[in-house]
Symmetry: C2
Subunit: 305 residues, 2 copies
């Protein structure tokens, strides 16, 4: 049976029809930012889904999974997401059931990415792992006994907002020193600028710092070593919580490769409590960057209750 995966971003909403083995057999997209009300937004999403299904001659699907900022697994709602033009508490489940009576499962995007890795990617067969996603922010998804950890509120798994450095860099969350301020794309550029002794500039991208490192630039290399040390510490600390079999990494900045991954492995081992030695691997996501959001959303349908 096929499922629908929907990735709700601030700019675009991407949809895909996904087969049992994780192949996206059809895709569609609408501009999220063109909507200010839930009803027409869901109407247009459902029209896209209807067309995706008809194009493949399909009468039924397993369900609809949605990865969204502030997506709440328990309520089936998106709760006041700051980067969406549609405001308030948005009940996708209720709205979608007006069109189609299938399970609708929501979670935030990093949780969905973790679950997608388990159902379709490199975490197949694992039931205890953590996913860190590096990008504009730093997200995480935690899988324990084969289930996503949602906690009492639905908002568990925000390791990007673990405070790594008390009174450290200011974070968009209003506090200081969150992991995200050091290991997001912007945090990496900031470290590079600090080490280089130049003011921070939004024109410098983490990809440039990655290219410089791969060309042997010593300041860029030092930047990735610093980021690796911070991320390795955060990862080792996360192991004291759930003793995972693996920690997965994904996102733009991880594409730099060796300049990050080599010192990361070293830092992780240095900071890991001895009782966990050898029990937890660092691995890269095996899903394609342009597929992970849709596959992760579609995978939510497969979640054990």
């Amino acid at each position: 049976m096929y499922s629908i995966g929907i990735d709700i971003g601030g700019t675009n909403t991407d949809m895909g029809l996904v087969s049992e083995d994780g192949t996206i057999v059809g895709r569609s997209s609408i501009p999220t930012s063109a909507y200010t009300e839930l009803t027409p937004y869901v109407r247009d999403i459902m029209a896209c889904i209807d067309k995706l299904m008809k194009d493949k001659g399909m009468a039924e699907i397993d369900g609809i999974g949605i990865g969204a900022p502030n997506g709440n697994y328990y309520t089936g709602c998106v709760d006041n997401a700051p980067n969406l033009t549609i405001k308030g508490v948005l009940n996708f489940e209720e709205e979608m059931h007006k069109y189609m009576n299938v399970p609708v499962v929501l979670s935030n995007d990093a949780n969905a990415a973790a679950y997608g890795e388990m159902v379709y990617g490199g975490a197949k067969g694992l039931d205890n792992f953590i996913m860190f996603t590096l990008g504009t922010g730093v997200g995480s998804g935690i899988v324990l006994d084969g289930k996503l950890v949602h906690g009492s509120t639905g908002g568990a798994g925000e390791l990007g907002h673990n405070i790594l450095v008390p009174n450290g860099r200011p974070c968009s969350c209003g506090r200081r020193g969150c992991l995200e301020t050091y290991t997001s794309a912007r945090g990496i550029v900031r470290t590079y600028c600090e080490l280089k002794g130049i003011p921070y500039s939004a024109d410098i991208k983490s990809k440039m710092v990655g290219d410089l490192a791969n060309q042997g630039d010593p300041i860029a290399l030092k930047t990735w070593e610093t980021v690796a040390d911070q991320l390795g510490l955060a990862m080792a600390n996360s192991v004291t919580f759930s003793a995972p079999q693996a920690i997965f990494l994904m996102g733009g900045p991880t594409k730099v490769g060796e300049p990050l991954l080599k010192p990361l492995q070293k830092a992780f081992e240095k900071y890991l409590l001895n009782i966990y030695a050898g029990s937890c691997q660092i691995r890269m996501s095996e899903l394609k960057a342009n597929e992970v959001a849709i596959l992760g959303a579609a995978a939510l349908i497969k979640m054990k209750k």
Copy 2:
């Protein structure tokens, strides 16, 4: 039906016969450090259990729960506990089944304390919470969806070894800056000595620092504020993992009361990510200090699979 709770410490092994409602109706004890082999040790434990049951005219029990350092839930073994005179991997489950065919469940002492709080104490009705135990060390037990978090190895929930201060105080685990080095009884005394400008002395006890604080001594008060800030940060960070409904505290140092608890509440709120505001309470354990270890062990029998 009654269960047996066994608390294995380096010096003594305490046993109790526990009723359904958490009353300890009989107790017994043997000196752990008098044994170097598992077989005679378990033989003598089972003789005590037999006597406890006979004294109450009982023919059957629910099971035997054991809280032990390095107690592994998955294997039913104690794995190379450094502070026990009986060395190696100790298979309690197998050894006990030679005497009595009842479920034998093991976990470490902090996990047992957390579970005991849920079954018999202040966490009744909660299914998402974290317990921090302050004492010689700092332990933790994490309950998620009504189950103890054991992770892939059985060794999850070691938040006392979360690195709070990179390159901070040396820890008994061989690393530096673990939470335990700041908020254990010894860590608290160490902070007091540092603030007072005197060398660390094992003659100063955390209880003395507590008494001084309650008499208004400014350096002692400052000590507890510092400890509260560090513990509050660690607690707030733990919320980003599992979004618990409550964080429980127990152990000798917590008995100081206000000098710790007032600044702790403040620090926790200061460091808590905004999406969790108001969703997680700090609470004190409601079990008696001299009962918690036995009740916690007995509670393990009630665990959902």
